[in-house]
Amino acid sequence: MKDWKVLLVDDEKEFVVTIAERLGMRGIITETVFEGEGAFKKLETFEPDVMVLDLMMPGMSGLTVLEKVKKLYPKIEVILLTGIGSTPEGLTGMRLGAFDYLMKPLQIDELIQKIGMAINKRSSAT
């Protein structure tokens, strides 16, 4: 898990900050951003292996961010966070290039497992 770099993008600050702290406690390098546009600013200085992206955000929506990321930074794997019962949106995201999607509230171990799988995919591709 060392050297894994993850960018968390979610407007729910309390949620995203807590997740970041929990991932950090497990040795994962984590950065947080609270809205879509901010993510691209952050990407100029911080290039993560995986982006964990909430679909429901004010301003730029998760799916727009995803499309743009996949276009500008095709190497970054994106894991989507969806609300309950938002399976169709999750599937749409996967068609647009997301690695997988998880439903909130989530299990930290499941998230870490997905991040690991995404990083594996990324390294096997390179």
Binding site: F15, T18, M25, I84, K104, P105, L106, I108
Partner: protein
């Protein structure tokens, strides 16, 4: 005119504002009245027209031959009298006074007369002073003086005289014919003959009348000149009065002195003061008419009965159809309304679920972080206790997650969606809603689901609603401590079935009959809408399935839902 129009409009209008049963009663009554009017009026008119036409035709048929007969009889009588008159006239003219005054001559003439013409009784020569000069016949009348008798005066004035029938001293009915002759030298004499009127009776007898008919001749004073079969003998007064003079044969209807309805045909003689009368009894001649009238009445009554029964039956069928169609429409409307309502509730539930979900995720992560902090710090005070507390929080979050899941599931049910699904799973999911209540009320949920039950193509949300409605009713019926047994099975290659059996209070036969009707409920006001089972029924039917219910008061209720493995394409779900 306007009132009739108003009446028709009233009959055609449907009173929307009235209560439903009364409305159907009024509409049914109006339709029946309209149909009866439009069918019975022509029938009654036709019967009445037929009645009067037949009556007129029949009367004409009776009267025309009567008139002919009366006319013929009159001619026979007139011919008879004219023949006798001209014979007497011939004798008066052909012989001189002296020839006729000679009794030998007169007897010879009389013998020829009797031989050639029937009915002559005697003949005599009377001079201008009224004295009978000579006489041939069975009586001793020579020298008789007729100067004072009225007929003598009349024959001298008119030249001719035919008497009414009389008996005189001959003691049998006869009539006298007298003819005056004035010779070229101014000498005047009268030949007078009497004729036996039995000949007149013969003429009537020769008409061949039936036993119920009568014919006779009367004079203008109403005295019989011939005998009548029913009303009297010759020279009796005729009890039937003959109306005003008519030389044309006439037939009238009246009641005779014996109280019988009769047709009276009569005609006045042109040359004499006689009237010929012909009588037929109505009851006799109208037998055909009475039969016809009875037939007409029977046809009318049968027609009337058939029409009334037909109209009533038709109206009742129409009303039933109308009520059924109205009920279907009302039910469809209620169903739409209900599903809109549910749809709104569904959207609300979905919104709530989403909104609750985010703080729930935060709580989950905070608790997770707390867990991490404790776990990563072996020296954390009261470590185990805090770990347990955090675990409890995370478990509660999980429970909340399940609840929001269900809310969303409920919301999704509003969208019609056919998919391949496992009915056992749908049943378990539905029972999830009731588990807590069942637990609190100590209700036993007994599941006997068929393993490897084939998956079916149907609508998950609609099915959940079906099962939930039945289960809710079962929960209501059993009270605390009862049992609800649920089982699934495969009926045949096309259908599967689900049974839901409760140990509740059951339903009476009467309740069972109405159980699927909308707005039918046995629950107290406010406890139920009466829509649940009607919607259930509608959904099952739409899904191409069927629903059956058996129930016994005090024992429980047993619902069986059959569902097709393939939802029919035309079901619209």
């Amino acid at each position: 005119m306007r009132s009739i129009k108003g009446l028709i409009e009233d009959l055609l209008s449907i009173p929307e504002e009235r209560s439903t049963p009364e409305r159907y009663r009024i509409v049914g009554r109006n339709i029946a009245i309209l149909m009866l009017t439009t069918t019975l009026v022509p029938l009654a008119l036709m019967t009445a027209i037929n009645y009067y036409e037949y009556k007129a035709a029949l009367r004409n048929e009776i009267q025309a031959p009567m008139k002919t007969l009366v006319n013929k009889a009159k001619h026979s009588f007139e011919l008879f009298l004219a023949g006798r008159l001209s014979t007497v006239n011939f004798i008066a003219s052909a012989y001189t006074f002296e020839e006729l005054a000679d009794e030998k001559n007169l007897n010879r003439i009389f013998r020829v007369l009797k031989k050639e013409f029937e009915g002559f009784v005697d003949i005599g020569l009377i001079d201008s002073k009224g004295t009978q000069i000579s006489y041939a016949g069975p009586y001793e009348l020579q020298g008789k003086d007729y100067a004072d008798q009225a007929w003598f005066e009349q024959v001298r004035v008119n030249g001719v005289y035919i008497s009414d029938v009389f008996k005189g001293y001959r003691k049998f009915p006869h009539l006298a014919i007298a003819v005056q002759h004035i010779s070229t030298d101014g000498r005047e004499w009268i030949v007078r003959a009497t004729i036996n009127t039995a000949k007149l009776d013969d003429l009537i007898a020769s008409m061949g009348l039936d036993s119920e008919s009568d014919a006779f001749v009367i004079n203008r004073q109403g005295v019989f000149q011939t005998k009548s079969k029913f009303y009297g003998d010759v020279l009796d007064k005729c009890p039937v009065t003959i109306p005003t003079r008519s030389f044309e044969p006439t037939v009238i209807e009246r009641v005779d002195p014996l109280g019988r309805d009769i047709f009276l045909g009569y005609v006045y003689f042109n040359q004499n003061d006689f009237i010929f009368a012909f009588i037929k009894h109505k009851s006799d001649v109208l037998k055909v008419w009475y039969t016809l009238r009875a037939d007409l009445l029977i046809v009318f009554v049968i027609g009337l009965t058939v029409i009334i029964l037909g109209v009533l039956k038709l109206t009742s069928i129409m009303m039933k159809r109308m009520k059924e169609s109205d009920d279907r429409r009302t039910m469809a409307l209620r169903e739409v309304e209900h599903s809109h309502k549910l749809s709104s509730i569904g959207r609300l539930a979905a919104g709530v679920a989403h909104e609750v979900n985010n703080p729930l995720a935060v709580i989950n992560e905070k608790a997770g972080l707390m867990q991490d902090v404790i776990q990563y710090n072996p020296d954390f005070p009261d470590r185990e206790r805090f770990l347990n507390l955090v675990k409890a929080i995370i478990q509660s979050v999980e429970r909340c997650r399940t609840i929001t899941h269900r809310l969303l599931g409920f919301a999704r049910r509003m969208d019609v969606e056919v998919q391949l699904l496992d009915v056992n799973e749908v049943l378990r999911e539905t029972l999830g809603f009731l588990e807590k209540e069942a637990l609190y009320r100590n209700v036993k949920l007994d599941l006997d689901l068929l393993k490897n039950l084939p998956q079916i193509k149907s609508d998950r949300g609609q099915l959940q609603q079906v099962f939930l409605n039945i289960l809710n009713n079962a929960m209501f019926a059993i009270g605390d401590g009862g049992t609800i047994a649920i089982s699934s099975f495969e009926r045949d290659s096309e259908m599967i079935g689900v049974t839901i059996k409760d140990t509740g209070h059951g339903m009476s036969e009467e309740t069972l009959k109405h159980v699927f009707e909308p707005f039918f409920t046995t629950k107290k006001s406010g406890q139920g809408t009466g829509l649940g089972l009607s919607i259930t029924y509608g959904i099952v039917k739409r899904l191409g399935g069927d629903i059956e219910v058996q129930s016994k008061p005090g024992i429980g209720t047993f619902f069986t839902v059959y569902l097709p493995k393939q939802t029919p394409a035309q079901s619209g779900v």
